[in-house]
């Protein structure tokens, strides 16, 4: 049973990792908008008409 003295700190370190991951995700703005991505998911682009080549790079290089 004394293994618990080793397991407990390891568990806590693992949770600390999860908390750090959450902190990173929050700070990088992943939880800022929780509604629109759900809607945007349905916007597939297959029906897109030929786009002016001058414009195309802008549409594809959008961040996030």
């Amino acid at each position: 049973m004394s293994i618990i003295f080793l397991i407990l700190p390891i568990t806590l370190l693992l949770s600390l990792g999860a908390v750090a991951a959450f902190a990173w995700a929050t700070r990088s703005g992943q939880f800022d908008d929780l509604e629109t991505p759900a809607v945007r998911l349905l916007h597939d682009e297959h029906a897109r008409p030929p786009v002016d080549p001058a414009q195309a790079p802008n549409e594809d290089s959008r961040p996030l």
């Binding site: 049973m1 618990i4 003295f5 407990l8 568990t11 806590l12 949770s15 999860a18 908390v19 959450f22 902190a23 929050t26 700070r27 703005g29 939880f31 800022d32 908008d33 929780l34 509604e35 629109t36 809607v39 945007r40 349905l42 916007h43 029906a47 897109r48 008409p49 786009v51 002016d52 414009q55 802008n58 549409e59 959008r62 996030l64």
Partner: protein, 823 residues
């Protein structure tokens, strides 16, 4: 201002033809007059036709396949006639645009009227409509469209017009960096929430081991390990994540206002100290699991509450949007465009026709008609001449003017008005929520019971007195009480937004739930806000002459003629506009259209019938207009601002809820009286001719009398009064300043939404009260257990989540704003 906003309103009220064709854009029935048998698509109005054409040209027809075409939802597209020129000012660019990489600028617009996936799809394809836009991203949570655009390709006003032409009226949101501040706060709170959650989960695991160990037996060293482990995790959760409650509690103590944070801090602090001492002592109870869960759940409530707060605007921002920032300075013979704020007192500026005036001054040359509706709410233009005062924010309608500058910028009447909006908003006492009021008594009762417990147990069993007191403070920590309001309000606000009502903060739901006096503005609120031809006496053939004479003038009367009489063959050779009328040669005939005074001055005399009829119209609150052809008065038209179709029904609903009404309008007293008569609802007081300052004074007086006052309006002239009222409500189509001053605004036309707002608020309050009642009942049980010394940490750990779950279920299942507008 709402006059032209309504251009797109479909004539759905007219009888539709059989079989009923649908508008290709908005799916509303197409009026018979607009039906085109040979065309593939039918449109209910020009607005819809032009949007359809824009989408088709940009290859965005897919929009129609994406949206669910229910008429109530898609709605006819409304376009505003705004040119958005103020967006191109350098000052604006400084305040509203953020520079990105490669000369790209980023701006944010608050966009109304987005309800579905198809709207988001369409908005994000803005680059195909306006190539200057490189990227558009819509945020449904905040209703904000963020665009990146190339300032060298097109000015921002063009982008705004493109959005407007699609039917989504854009409202620039001030300074993206402030939004960033707000977002930082949101993220920080979310992080606290996450840490409290993680701590709660881990401590609970260890608590489980401790509880089972307590009943099944556990080695002393393991128990100590779990206790110290819990202490280690709970410390950051309580003191870092829960810091917000301690700070709130301290502030509440300092300002002596009741607040939920006070009992929360007390419980957390007592529980933590007691448990920490017991951990070190190695005996007695620990409550770390309850404390972490408590912090986590309370932070959930706090987070929900925060996401619904909207910032109010600054006076300087409003001023920029309302008055132009440049003026045309007269220097000898030359004219020069200069920044309005740089104008010296006494210099002369030229004000061209159709221009909005940038300064306050006195007319030195010329005479014209001014549209002062922005400032005063008066729907009819005011005739001005040399020596009269002009104010910033009003529009010159008929002839060029020169004026001597008296004040500029913040010193103008408009500037002072906007300043008073800001000041009143700042000074307004915060609303004390019901839950906080309850918490105020609650904390006193709990402290009293705690002291009593300590005293009684000190006499009965001194070794357990402190333990029982700590147990009491932990179990009564008002978790469910703290969650009841944010949850109910959050669910309600979501439903309200779906029904077209936006609350700036949850407090206003509580304010609106109790009856009081609702003060209505008239123009644009009770009425449609534009003049309509309501009576015509004379030959129908004359109409075509009048229509030609009115041409494309922007005068409200001319606009009403343009709307009610279609374009026709008559051509106008020569026309001249005067402050009170127009004279034109149409089809070789001399046509005079104008007020009684104007036609009398031109002809020398008027026939008796014309004079008596004009008097009758004026007495009934209508505006008479005389038409003379070749020197002979031959027709009389009368115009009135028609009442909104749903006004009477909505007021009746509100009256049933116990609200009383007043009307406070900048318009003529006779017009106000006739509207009130038409409403058929008892009104305490109907005042016409009220200036914005008078409106503010009236609201302040009512509040000083101890009344609860709600101001419903749509204009800049209502803004200060709205800010001073308990709740200011801006109706759909309202001006920018008015939206900023309002606490609640509606995104659907009509007054039905106001009734729904009151009804929904009342339903929400019922849910909140139930939540508070339930949580108090659980607390009573906890108190009974703790005082009798039977409460152990397991009981506390079970009681708290159960009470919270009951409150959450009650809040989420309730129908508040979605249940229709039946009281």
């Amino acid at each position: 201002m709402s006059a032209a906003l309504d251009i797109g309103t479909p004539a759905a009220a007219r009888v539709p033809p059989q079989p009923e064709p649908q508008c290709a854009h908005c799916a509303l029935p197409v009026p018979a007059a607009r039906f085109e048998p040979r065309s593939e698509q039918q449109f209910c109005c020009d607005g819809c036709r032009s949007v359809f054409a824009i989408l088709h040209e940009a290859g965005l027809d897919e929009y129609y396949a994406r949206r669910d075409a229910t008429p109530s939802r898609a709605g006819a597209r409304q376009q505003s006639p705004r040119k958005f020129e103020e967006l191109d000012e350098p000052a604006f660019r400084n305040d509203y645009c953020q520079a990105g990489a490669g000369g790209v600028l980023c701006s944010e617009f608050f966009v109304e009227g987005v309800h579905c996936s198809a709207c988001v799809w369409l908005l994000e394809r803005l680059p195909r409509v306006t190539p200057a836009v490189l990227e558009a991203r819509y945020d449904l949570t905040r209703s904000v469209l963020r665009i990146a655009w190339d300032p060298s390709a097109a000015p921002l006003s063009e982008v705004a017009r493109a959005l407007d032409s699609l039917g989504y009226t854009p409202h620039p949101t001030h300074k993206a960096s402030l939004a960033v501040e707000q977002r930082k706060g949101d993220r920080a709170l979310l992080l606290r929430l996450g840490i409290a959650g993680a701590a709660a989960g881990n401590v609970m695991l260890m608590a489980l081991a401790l509880y089972s160990g307590k009943y099944a037996g556990m080695g002393e060293e393991y128990a100590a390990l779990f206790r110290f482990g819990s202490l280690l995790i709970a410390t950051p959760a309580v003191f870092w994540a829960g810091n917000v409650f301690f700070r709130g509690g301290l502030a509440a103590l300092r300002t002596r206002t009741p607040h939920m944070d006070l009992p929360v801090s007390l419980g957390l602090l007592a529980g933590y100290l007691g448990s920490a001492v017991n951990t070190v002592r190695g005996q007695g109870e620990v409550y770390f699991d309850s404390l972490c869960t408590l912090t986590f759940l309370l932070l959930v409530g706090r987070y929900l509450q925060r996401t619904h707060q909207r910032r109010s605007a600054k006076a300087s921002d409003l001023l920029n949007a309302l008055a132009p920032t440049t003026a045309c300075l007269v220097e000898g013979e030359a004219l020069r465009e200069v920044s309005a704020n740089a104008l010296a007192k006494g210099s002369i500026v030229e004000i061209r026709v159709g221009e909005r005036i940038a300064v306050d001054g006195v007319i030195s040359e010329g005479s014209s008609a001014l549209d002062t509706s922005l400032l005063t709410g008066e729907s009819f233009p005011e005739a001005v001449t040399v020596g009269d005062r002009v104010y910033a924010g009003t529009t010159n309608l008929s002839a060029s003017l020169r004026a001597r500058v008296e004040s500029v910028g913040a010193e103008t009447r408009l500037g002072r008005l906007m300043h008073s909006v800001e000041a009143t908003q700042r000074e307004r006492a915060p609303i004390v929520r019901l839950a906080d009021r309850v918490a105020g008594y609650f904390v006193l009762v709990i402290v009293a019971i705690a002291v009593l417990t300590l005293l009684v147990w000190s006499m009965l069993d001194p070794s357990h007195a402190l333990d029982h007191t700590v147990a009491l403070l932990v179990v009564t920590c008002p978790c469910a009480l703290g969650m009841a309001t944010p949850l109910a309000v959050s669910a309600a606000l979501r439903a309200a937004a779906k029904s077209g009502i936006l609350f700036k903060a949850g407090e206003f739901v509580e304010e609106l739930a109790r009856p009081g006096i609702i003060v209505f503005d008239k123009t644009g609120t009770l009425s449609e806000g534009r003049l309509e031809l309501v009576s015509w006496r004379g030959d129908e053939a004359i109409k075509s002459l009048v229509r030609a004479a009115e041409g494309t003038s922007g005068h409200p009367i001319a606009r009403a003629f343009q709307r009610s009489i279609g374009e026709n063959g008559s051509s106008c050779e020569e026309r001249r506009e005067y402050p009170r009328g127009v004279r034109a040669r149409v089809d070789d005939r001399d046509v005079l259209v104008g007020s009684q005074a104007f036609v009398r001055a031109a002809l020398g005399s008027l026939p008796i019938w014309a004079v008596t009829q004009a008097q009758a119209h004026a007495a009934a609150g209508r505006t008479p207009v005389l038409v003379a052809v070749d020197g002979e008065v031959c027709a009389m038209a009368a115009f009135a601002d028609t009442i909104r179709a749903d006004a009477a029904a909505s007021l009746t609903k509100l009256a049933a809820l116990g609200f009383q009404f007043e009307v406070l309008s900048g318009d003529d007293q006779r017009v106000v009286d006739s509207i009130v008569r038409e409403l058929g609802v008892p009104v305490l007081n109907a005042t016409g001719g009220a200036s914005p300052e008078a409106k503010l004074a009236a609201i302040t007086r009512l509040r000083a009398e101890g009344q609860r006052v709600f101001m419903v309006g749509d204009g800049v002239n209502d803004a200060a009064a709205m800010a001073a009222a308990n709740v200011g409500i801006a109706v759909h189509g309202g001006a920018e300043a008015c939206l900023s001053a309002a606490d609640v605004f509606t995104t659907r036309p009509g007054l039905d939404t106001v009734a729904l707002a009151a009804i929904g608020s009342r339903r929400t309050m019922r849910v909140i009260r139930i939540g508070i009642g339930v949580s108090l009942a659980y607390n009573l049980l906890g108190v009974a257990l703790a005082v009798s010394g039977r409460l152990d940490p397991l009981w506390a750990a079970v009681l708290m989540p159960i009470s919270s779950i009951s409150v959450v279920t009650a809040a989420l299942r309730a129908r508040t704003f979605s249940g229709g507008a039946k009281p």
